[in-house]
Structures are given as C-alpha cells and as structure tokens.
Symmetry: C2
Subunit: 384 residues, 2 copies
C-alpha cells in the first residue's frame, strides 16, 4: 500500500507540540492521520484526519487505537508499552519498536544498556527505593553530591534533581531511581540520528544546548555547535554507536555531556523528534519531523545538512503566571531578522511550561545567537 494514498492511515499516540509539528509534515505529504491524546484541547487536535480523546497509558485504549491504523508511532515516551508489544505480535508496524521504548522508558534500564554496550556514560547506581539511597550514603557506598533521576516518567527535567545534602534526600519522591555522579561538564550536546525501516542512517549536525540553571530546561539550542570539528565529529560517532546499539526506527536524539577533559558521555536518549531539533524546521534541508515521518514510513531519508545557522529559544511560562496565556511583545520579536515564533496552542500557561519556541536563522551563528538573546529578553509568556 502506498503511504500517499487515502487508504493508508498513520496513528500518533500523543497530541502535544511534537505531534502537532509532525502534522505539518503529514499535511504536506497528505498522509492520512489519526491522533489520540487525553486532552480535548491538545495542540495536535487540528490538522489530523481524526482526533480522539483517550488515555495513552491505558492498555486497551492503545490496543484499540493501534488496531485502527496501519503504522503506529508516538510523540511521547509515556505510552503503554505492553499494548505496543501486543500490537507487534499481531503484525502491526510500530515504530519506534516496543523493545526500543522499553529500554528508554526506564532510566535505570537505559543506563545499564549503555554500560552493556560500552557506551560512555556517567557512573551511576540503581536503587529500587529512595530509602536505599539513605543506607548507601550512611554506609559510604554513595557520596554527596550526586544527581538523582527518577527511573520512570522523567520529562522536562521534572524527574531530575541535584542532591547536595542528606536533607535533600528526604525531599525526593519515592520509587525506583538512579544516583549519578555529578559530572563537571563544559557543554551539553545533542545529535539526532535518523534510521529508516530499511536501515538507512543519517545524522544531524551536533548542536549545543544552553540550559536554564534553575528549571533544568533547554534555553537555547545552537546549530551548529560552536566547537572544534574533532569534538563534533566525536559526538556524531558516539551518537551513531548508540543508534547502532538500539537498532531503532525513527529518530533517536542523543543528549551528551562534554566534560572538562573533552570526554563525551551519553546523558540520555529520546526515540522521537526532540527539543534539540526544533530549529531544523527553519535551518535544515529536511526538518526532524519530516525525517521522523520518512523514517517510520520507510521512505528515503532527507538531507540533514543545514541551509543556514539556527538558534532555538524555548518559550516557557514566566514565573508567577498561571492562567490564560498572553505572548507579550510577540510583535516586537517578529520584527527582528530571521525570527519565527512557533506557538503550540496550549491555552493555559504556568511557570516553566513549554508554550512554544522561537527559531532564529542567520548565515552567521553568532549573529543568530545574539538575536536569540534579544528575543529571550523581549518576549514574555504571561497570564492575562
């Protein structure tokens, strides 16, 4: 069956901003789509052929949804993976696979996967319960400070905390987790690797991420990274090694730390379009959303090179603002050169909620970064 036919139907689990941006591509290719999300106001409620409201963590809901489409993908890792596995048993095409997702969904499993595959990553210990952390500290098996990560449902940095004292441990949520060495790093990098069903592989250039110090959310993404070629080449080789280990289908965003000794460590991966690739919409020959769709539909992958340099700024809800959203000064930033806002369409803002992003493109990365700073200082995501 051709994907360019009304008989074909692509299913997307999750209707957030990533699903919404995938739909830019499915509209361009006229791919018939069906989207499911728990919210009737989900950003991807429009632009699909069919939208249904439902819980993507529920086994039966995902199973029923998957059976009604030809190829199934997801825009978020928090989906019912048992249902995906059952669908695969029934012969349904699910990309990325349940196997890939199962490893990634649990951060402890993901870290063990890296050590099993000789992929450099920060040293860590796994704990079934937070109480075990206290014992480990008391017994000298774990030293402060360390980075605590919830094994499950970490998203947008909410499942990550730097633990500096014994009393910090008391504040941690219960449940399975890892304690990771606090690595002093110079930069955070990301490389997105695309791999289609037939095994064709293409990597995007290494990007550099600048984080907000408090919210642990990406503030700026720069493409290309302002780093020597030997470093970015090394990052791309490592990302390819990770991709090879997973044998994933679709995108794999590989987040990495560049240490003070120019060692590169894998932090974590996401098997989908990623925040560190949004600037590809304006900057790259093929944007990450198109590449994901090409990969999972086993179409030839597109050119991952950049047309121009690009910087992405996340638009997150301002502190002390909760309620109906207002994008203050958006007209002002739109007058700046090479600036494109993407508004996700979430009606309510709250502190640090991802409400959109802005891409700044320019032939010169430093000029783009400088305009990005002005954008960041000008626009405000507040409530009415």
């Amino acid at each position: 069956m051709s994907y360019f036919s009304s008989n074909f139907k692509l299913g997307i689990l999750g209707g957030g901003q990533l699903g919404k941006m995938m739909l830019y591509v499915t509209r361009k290719f006229d791919t018939t789509t069906k989207v499911i999300d728990s919210s009737q106001d989900a950003p991807a409620r429009l632009a699909c052929d069919e939208f249904i409201q439902g819980d993507i963590l529920d086994y039966d809901t995902v199973l029923d949804f998957g059976r009604s489409v030809d190829v199934l993908t997801f825009e978020i890792e928090n989906v019912n993976v048992d249902a995906l596995e059952q669908l695969e048993h029934e012969g349904k095409k699910v990309f990325p696979s349940s196997k890939t997702l199962r490893i990634i969904q649990n951060k402890a499993t993901q870290k063990l996967f890296y050590t099993d595959h000789n992929i450099p990553t920060a040293p860590f210990s796994r704990f079934a319960y937070v109480s075990e952390i206290e014992d480990a500290i008391t017994n000298g098996g774990l030293e402060l400070p360390f980075v605590w990560k919830s094994a499950r449902f970490g998203y947008d940095g909410q499942g990550v905390k730097v633990v500096r004292s014994f009393s910090d441990v008391k504040q941690l949520p219960k449940g399975e987790c890892i304690a990771e060495d606090l690595i002093p790093f110079k930069n955070e990098l990301s490389v997105i690797v695309s791999r289609n069903v037939s095994g064709e592989i293409k990597t995007y250039p290494t990007v550099e991420m600048e984080f907000h110090p408090e919210a642990n959310q990406v503030e700026y993404v720069l493409c290309p990274a302002r780093l020597p070629k030997e470093i970015t080449d090394k990052a791309e080789r490592l990302a390819l090694k990770v991709s090879e280990a997973f044998q994933h289908v679709g995108l794999l965003a590989v987040e990495m730390f560049l240490t003070k000794d120019d060692e590169i460590l894998v932090n974590e991966v996401a098997p989908r379009p990623h925040n560190s690739g949004h600037q590809s919409i304006e900057g790259s020959f093929t944007c990450q959303f198109e590449q994901h769709i090409r990969a999972i539909l086993d179409l030839p992958l597109g050119n991952t090179e950049s047309k121009v340099a690009s910087v992405m700024v996340n638009l997150v809800g301002a502190e002390n603002h909760t309620g109906d959203v207002v994008y203050k000064n958006i007209e002002t930033i739109m007058a700046m050169d090479g600036v494109t806002p993407h508004i996700y369409g979430k009606k309510q803002t709250r502190p640090f909620r991802k409400m959109g992003h802005v891409t700044i493109v320019d032939k010169d990365i430093n000029k783009a970064r400088s305009i990005a700073q002005s954008v960041k200082e000008t626009i405000e995501v507040i409530s009415k």
Copy 2:
C-alpha cells in the same frame, strides 16, 4: 485584540492548495481560522478550526461568513466582491481590499489600470463581445496573431489562447475579453511584493518561470532568476511601482515578460500567495504564506531573502489519466538531494490539474535545476 489569542478568528475564502498552505502558518502561530469552500473534500478542510461548505461566489454566503470572523482574506480571486465591499462598509477588515480585487478580477480593467498608471504592459484592445473581434479583424483594426484573454475567470491559463487565424476566433468563448499583442519574449519573470496594513513593504527576489508549451502552466520556477542583476533589479522596481499603484495589503505577485530588447512588461498580477512563490517554503527566510498572514494581520514583515537556491516543479495530472490519483515514483524522487514533495490532497486527477508541487533546494541554482529536471522526468501523476 491580539492575533495570538483564541478570541481572534481569521476567515479564509477558498480551501484549495493555497488556503491549505496558509494553514501551515496559522497552525504555527496558533491563529484561529475558519475556512469556506464549495467542496467538502477541499485540501484546506483540515488544519483550520472550523470548515464550512459553501459557495464563495454567492453574496449572502460570503456576507454571513465574513461577519463571523475578525479579519477576512481569500486564496482565490473568484469570490463575491460585492459582499467583500459590503463587509468593508460594515467595518470588517478585508485584506486584500474589495477595491484591489475588483481591478484584478477583470482583466480588461486590470490592463486599463496599468496604462492609467504608466505601467508598461503589452498593447491590447478590449472587446465587450467576441463578435466585435471578428469586425475588428475585418476592418483592419486588429491583426493576427494575437493573444485572446477572457476578461473574467481566467485561472491556470484556461482563459488564455493564442489566436492565429480567423477560424481560431470562431472557437473562442463568448463574452468580454481583451486581444493583446503577441510579444516575443525571452523570459517570464515574477516578483512577489508584500505590503502590510501599516504600509511596510518587502519584495521577494525576481524568479524565472519556465512554462509548459501546451498547457500554458508554469513547469519550473527558479529562484533566483538566472539573469543579470540589472534586469532583476529593473523587474523588482517595476513590481514595486505596481504595488504602489494598487496600495494593496497582503501579497501581490507581479508576473512580467522580459522582451527580446530587455524591456519588461507587466503581464498580470495576483493579490495572494502565488504559484511562483511556492519554493519560498523551503528556500526563503520567510515563506510567502507566512508573509501573507503577517501582512494582513499587520505584523512586521519577515526577511524575503533566500537561504538557498530553489526550484519548484508543478505536479500536474498526466494526459489521458482521470480518476483516483496515484503519485508514481514519488519514493524515487524523495531519494534525490534536497527534494520535498507537497501533495495538495485532491483525490481525483485529470489532465493538467494541479495536484501538488515539488521543491528542490541546493546551494547552487544550476544543480537544483538539474535535479528538478530528473524529478520532472521521474514522477508521474496518474490514475489507478
């Protein structure tokens, strides 16, 4: 009222491919939209907040539709202009205005407008009836060959014919028309001028159009045109003069002939995103659809420069094929460098029907043109 608010609603008359591509932008900005088209299967039926089926040539339908939105625009000239004028009297924002549209809708009025404003255009005569043409030829007032153009409802070259003999005249449709001198030209050029409500103006670079000799439809659009800078500068100055004369709001695509003597004549204009600007989606800092939306919402205009060179190939239905469409070899062209297909989503093909377009981008215009040729020779729009 902010355009980035759910209280605001943009109305679009016509739900064809141009309306569909406008919706790429309204989704990105999260602008609330309402679209009307006579076909329930219109390409723009998805991605708007509300789609209604209705006749945009009907006075009451357009009036009711216009009253239900805050700003009204159109993606096709064949709309009821009297209703637009009435809406303006009621204080509704209609962009482009009924005044601009009324001049453009009638090709005779449009040509007279050029002569009134000292805008160079091919010499012509206006006829209220085709029978008057026969008299003019007999009396020596009109010489063969000439170009006949229907004054009304010319679209995609269907209202244009080269008349070489008296018997050709007999084949012409009745009604108001013009007879234009057949100008031997070297090239057809187009410049898209954008102008927002506040009067800010930006022009896109001059593009070169290569036409299909029989169907009188654009086959390739090249940006930039492969012409000396003095010629493209001259074309851009002329386009600005036309824009100045119209005082339009939104885009104005100015199609021109470059004669053998390097004279530039205005052929015709379109007050909307245009086939000669589709490559701007991939090639330009700001695509024409975004620019149109920015202009009519009185947002600052975006940068009209090119990131890379681009060529656009129209995908039209193959001869001898009518019925459910198949895009033969689409996977093959997607393996070519810098190739992006846009499928409009029309379910039925027929000879020369515009079914989509393909953009080819490359840093080198000649390489892009060469790949475009391969695309053209490979993909086929046929019926099942």
